[in-house]
Symmetry: D4
Subunit: 220 residues, 8 copies
Amino acid sequence: MRSKGFCELGFAKIDLDRECRRGFSEAVYCAGKTKEQILQISRKLLQNKQDVILTKLGKNKFDYLKKRLPRLKYNADAGLAFFVSKPKALKGYVAVLTAGTSDIPVAEEAVAVLEAMGNAVDKIYDVGVAGVHRLSSFISRIRKANVIVVVAGMEGALASLVSGLVNRPVIAVPTSCGYGASFKGLAALLGMLNSCSAGVVVVNIDNGFGAGYFASLINR
Amino acid sequence: MRSKGFCELGFAKIDLDRECRRGFSEAVYCAGKTKEQILQISRKLLQNKQDVILTKLGKNKFDYLKKRLPRLKYNADAGLAFFVSKPKALKGYVAVLTAGTSDIPVAEEAVAVLEAMGNAVDKIYDVGVAGVHRLSSFISRIRKANVIVVVAGMEGALASLVSGLVNRPVIAVPTSCGYGASFKGLAALLGMLNSCSAGVVVVNIDNGFGAGYFASLINR
Amino acid sequence: MRSKGFCELGFAKIDLDRECRRGFSEAVYCAGKTKEQILQISRKLLQNKQDVILTKLGKNKFDYLKKRLPRLKYNADAGLAFFVSKPKALKGYVAVLTAGTSDIPVAEEAVAVLEAMGNAVDKIYDVGVAGVHRLSSFISRIRKANVIVVVAGMEGALASLVSGLVNRPVIAVPTSCGYGASFKGLAALLGMLNSCSAGVVVVNIDNGFGAGYFASLINR
Amino acid sequence: MRSKGFCELGFAKIDLDRECRRGFSEAVYCAGKTKEQILQISRKLLQNKQDVILTKLGKNKFDYLKKRLPRLKYNADAGLAFFVSKPKALKGYVAVLTAGTSDIPVAEEAVAVLEAMGNAVDKIYDVGVAGVHRLSSFISRIRKANVIVVVAGMEGALASLVSGLVNRPVIAVPTSCGYGASFKGLAALLGMLNSCSAGVVVVNIDNGFGAGYFASLINR
Amino acid sequence: MRSKGFCELGFAKIDLDRECRRGFSEAVYCAGKTKEQILQISRKLLQNKQDVILTKLGKNKFDYLKKRLPRLKYNADAGLAFFVSKPKALKGYVAVLTAGTSDIPVAEEAVAVLEAMGNAVDKIYDVGVAGVHRLSSFISRIRKANVIVVVAGMEGALASLVSGLVNRPVIAVPTSCGYGASFKGLAALLGMLNSCSAGVVVVNIDNGFGAGYFASLINR
Amino acid sequence: MRSKGFCELGFAKIDLDRECRRGFSEAVYCAGKTKEQILQISRKLLQNKQDVILTKLGKNKFDYLKKRLPRLKYNADAGLAFFVSKPKALKGYVAVLTAGTSDIPVAEEAVAVLEAMGNAVDKIYDVGVAGVHRLSSFISRIRKANVIVVVAGMEGALASLVSGLVNRPVIAVPTSCGYGASFKGLAALLGMLNSCSAGVVVVNIDNGFGAGYFASLINR
Amino acid sequence: MRSKGFCELGFAKIDLDRECRRGFSEAVYCAGKTKEQILQISRKLLQNKQDVILTKLGKNKFDYLKKRLPRLKYNADAGLAFFVSKPKALKGYVAVLTAGTSDIPVAEEAVAVLEAMGNAVDKIYDVGVAGVHRLSSFISRIRKANVIVVVAGMEGALASLVSGLVNRPVIAVPTSCGYGASFKGLAALLGMLNSCSAGVVVVNIDNGFGAGYFASLINR
Amino acid sequence: MRSKGFCELGFAKIDLDRECRRGFSEAVYCAGKTKEQILQISRKLLQNKQDVILTKLGKNKFDYLKKRLPRLKYNADAGLAFFVSKPKALKGYVAVLTAGTSDIPVAEEAVAVLEAMGNAVDKIYDVGVAGVHRLSSFISRIRKANVIVVVAGMEGALASLVSGLVNRPVIAVPTSCGYGASFKGLAALLGMLNSCSAGVVVVNIDNGFGAGYFASLINR
């Protein structure tokens, strides 16, 4: 059944109007969905000439999908699969930074969605504040970016520091890296929300997808 | 031993007076009970001509019970088993909505108890606020319901939106769908409790059973 | 004493390099500072040809400053004073929405900083989800904005709803409006962080300044 | 300006369609609004033949309004003012219970809105579980009610107890009465959400208005 | 090495003075200890003519110990093993109540330590407030107890209700039974701490051992 | 109106059966009650030959009552007023300890209710763990008590320490003394609930009344 | 009464052994103590040749004391009074940094206790991460300190940054400066506890005294 | 690639300047890193004549590393591996205490890093406050230490007690030992932050590494 801009599957109503309305087709959050449900949704999107982005998708579910939808690509670090028919090449680039190595999977989720939406990306990983000279080496590359995504767990201090050095918007992604009083990312989240440097906004813990999507809206 | 309106099993005292007192026999919360305990309780209820509703019941425990109590029916999505001898057919119907596909198991728990208690149900799934035109298509069906159950995780915004469009009571069920700062349903719970639209009440996170039971009390 | 891009006052080190480095001069957070301290800081900024933005500034402190710095302007709703020598007129405009009337002071803080930084602003207040037809009337104006700031307390649902209807970035500002389980803005904050609609970022509770500043970075 | 079912005041958009859409006109949440704003809103509602309910309204603001809108009535315990032109007399009644004396102001808020919406009310105050024989005396009156509102602070146990004795829906209102680990109503809120008795739903802490409104939706 | 009232094992210093000082020998908390450590500690206690109580002891660890210390007894529900040489028979008895069946393992921990310390116990399980007539049947047995232990999860209302009916001390044990907003026993804990009935004290979530130990101190 | 063991005042139902049922007449929690309400309740209790205990009673309200009920006594530190006709002299005594001077008002609430209920009290104040030799001087007096009440804020460590030295029950009262991460008594509350020493139970933050009442139940 | 190393005042037991045992006499926490109690304690300390440090002492209470104990000195920013007979001059110095101007009162508490205990102090205020070049100017002075105290509210990032640049111990003091999701210092506290840079320890929110005291223990 | 004091691996930027800048080479936090990543980092450190410390390293990952880097040593209790070429022997020693046996793994992490950095260590385990005479036996050894590390879960009272007895700095490490209201170490963390004894600082829950590192900075 198709009507009024969406497609009815019973367990899901696929938004076919989204590309028109929002500039990009629906992204599918895969945690809590069965592989059969994800397959049906993906097929409907493809039949309707929509692009496909699948987030929080485990390797097992991807393997099941790949056999049936061979054009699907996968970023295993990010747990993100996608099929984009004709990515637009945007001018300028987005810088994606992490504080540590453990933050990379979340950063890769941002990178994957940024690239799927046509953005060039400059990855600068492991430049946390414990050794600030590492960050210093990359300042000029960071300053030239149109938008900056900062991914950090533990105390999340990198976002404030970077924002204080540039005149570009900074999107901060707290991660659940850490232990004890990090409370699964709460410490980083609160730190970023309380940034003493104007020009920082925040997304949900581990939400690399949301940061990449938002950065792409700006870069457009 | 039977006395004073309940039946003594040592580890449980089965309330045989409940149908008379409350209009429906005891529902058994199965998490934390062994399969043997659940079997004994179910048998006692059936011997005493009571209906049986078993909630939060895993598939393995159900299989054990089914061999011994073959009349038991099971809603696998909901994790809810039941035997109802003579459901009363109630007039009107209850609308059960979900914001997303991942909220369906909780919604099905509400549906299962609603049907067991004799209510007609109209299921409208995956109509969350990210694509509000999907909801718009169903407004007239929702307005005709006697009661509305809204099941949503993440920010739980659907309950307020629906309530603002209808003159029927809305029972909001937060779900634990989401990650990071959803804190296992806390975000949705707080959102629903703070609904800016009068006419919304809330039950525990993932408590589809409670919402269905309450909706049935109203619909009666 | 002046050296190395800042000016030393003992209790404060005024960043004179900020306009060059970040595109806008330092904003002074006034809560927890005495009126004498704020005066000294403001004077130093003006002496060094910097613009002045003073946030979270009470009426009494402003009156004290106004006598001594008569060019200072004040947005009383926002608790924000400023002196901007030559605001640049930017193209396009920023839409600032509130869910309710009680959210207006925070929205005005965003408006004040946006205007001080040279942005045109379209104010659309009291369009919360309890009466969604109010929002519908303004959709075309909202869609034409370059950036959208959504200010909402209680459950904060407006941000998700708006984001689902547009292809522009949405900056969500939770407010401390509400009572009981709003926990002084926590409910709105968590709701916005868990938005089911991609394209939403969040700032601190009641941080209208931060939202306006960030929106201006994008609009530039 | 009047258009599309609401009336534009700049700081507020008054929903004139609400009585038609929802069965009752807009209730105005007054905390965070100035007395002048409340007056303007009230006048617009009256000019448009709408009923008026003003919640969380302090005595000082009411006195200001009363001089200008003499038909307004006030329940001082509840902090609720109203003008209802033609209340409909509904059949049956709603029972409103409190656990203690300190819970009465919140209960009175429920009573005031119930009466404004045409419901008969039976008030049964101070029947908390510390002396359960007090409750026992009123069981038959409670059982005959169409809906039951239970208002309780501290541990909030009264809602579960009442619900276990009746076959009517119970709406539980946690209050901020208590100290220490009551955490301003959090203990009561959590207790009520975890009620071991099916048939209990919950509203926000101290939200007597919401409970009364919802009870009226059912009783209609 | 033995000196100054304790025995040195390197990883533990066994308190051999405790029976003299406190009236009962040391209880060993086994979570986080290896089975070898528990064995060494138990042996030292037995060599020094001390009684042994091992709490939070899993079945696997017990099996290992039983082969080496065959006199050890085990309450599998409670996860508690003990060897008591000469229990003193105390006068009177302690009543141990649970709200539900799922609370029984915690209650059995209290029972096990009570019996090990020489107390008679009256077990009254599954008498929660959802069917208060079940409790009513046992009031006279409860009133005759010297001390009452009430074990309950979810909202924990049973402790207040019982305390209001008796003139004996009530020790409340919150359990982690429940889901969603029970937050692993937090709801029950807060409810019990805020009991509106004087005469209730509280121990840690799931701490049946502590409740039994304390009840025994009183009953002595 | 008097019936069924309680006396109806509309805003309160006074439990006249409590002395018989529970061994002591009703204590009136005065926060949230008007002085007129407290007066009416006190008069009814006195007319019915009940003792009176008024907790959390401010000085102003007491002065109002004292003029009308001159027999009322007041412990200003504790904010507790009482009239007890014939206190029973109990054998033995209760030791009441505080960690610091700031904890004394809460301790005095326990002392006041203990004395009103006929207990001898030994007050040992300011013996916190920062100078443990102070505690050592009093060990023999503490060991001879029948029950021990320990009142402490900040980290609440005194309860565990005392319990480890005696064979008597210890009732721990966390206080809201402290700042920052004491979170108004939460730190002390959690510390006491997690006491590594068996034999400690806990009451609500600042609930000196509850501790005194419970100690009296044991000492009886 | 004097005995066993302390002096008995009833409401307080003054530790006269502390200087000998701990190297510095007792500091008196004045919040929650009456001015008369503080006077008595101070007099006893002076009579016994002890130094006096009074923390969290308001101006009014100090004025009362000053009339009676004229040798007392006061740091009004810090709310700290003291009389130290013969401060020892220690070698080296302690650097005390703040992120912002609003953090100065807490820093001054650290400075006051450091100076009272004989330490030289280098104050470097308002060097937060929003303008990191300010910090850079002071690196050599910071590196030469024996110990570093970092005082910061909001996200507390300064502690990690400083620690990464030096080889000296850093004591981090979170402050309650900030609003919204700073939750009165919780954000800064969690950030500092999760510092990605080894060499950082943390004290309670706003506990300048504790940081100064600890720094002095190291510097000795 | 090597430049500017660090070595680029793409997923990590290894700080080769740290020994010079901070007095000790970089410690690698291994949770969230793959074994291949850890190997590459370790090799680069060794090639550059840096010492290696690997924290939170599981046994499986260590076995993989050991085959390839045979000089690596491992403390299995601590989950910490290291290679230190020429440890400096420092004067004096650090005392490391635990409250219980279950706290030992965290203590061993502190011990391992202390020894790797050249400190002598005196281990005093299982001296919690439930049997304070055990602590008393070790006071003179504790007093002679230069620094004291106290590791404790549950209520964390040991840190305050020890600090009150000595004139040396105490570094408190809360552990996640406990259950229920210990909330995975939160109770111990809050208790230690609120220590009534000056001279206590705190690190993250289970952060034995941080405590050992900081103690070594002092002991140097």
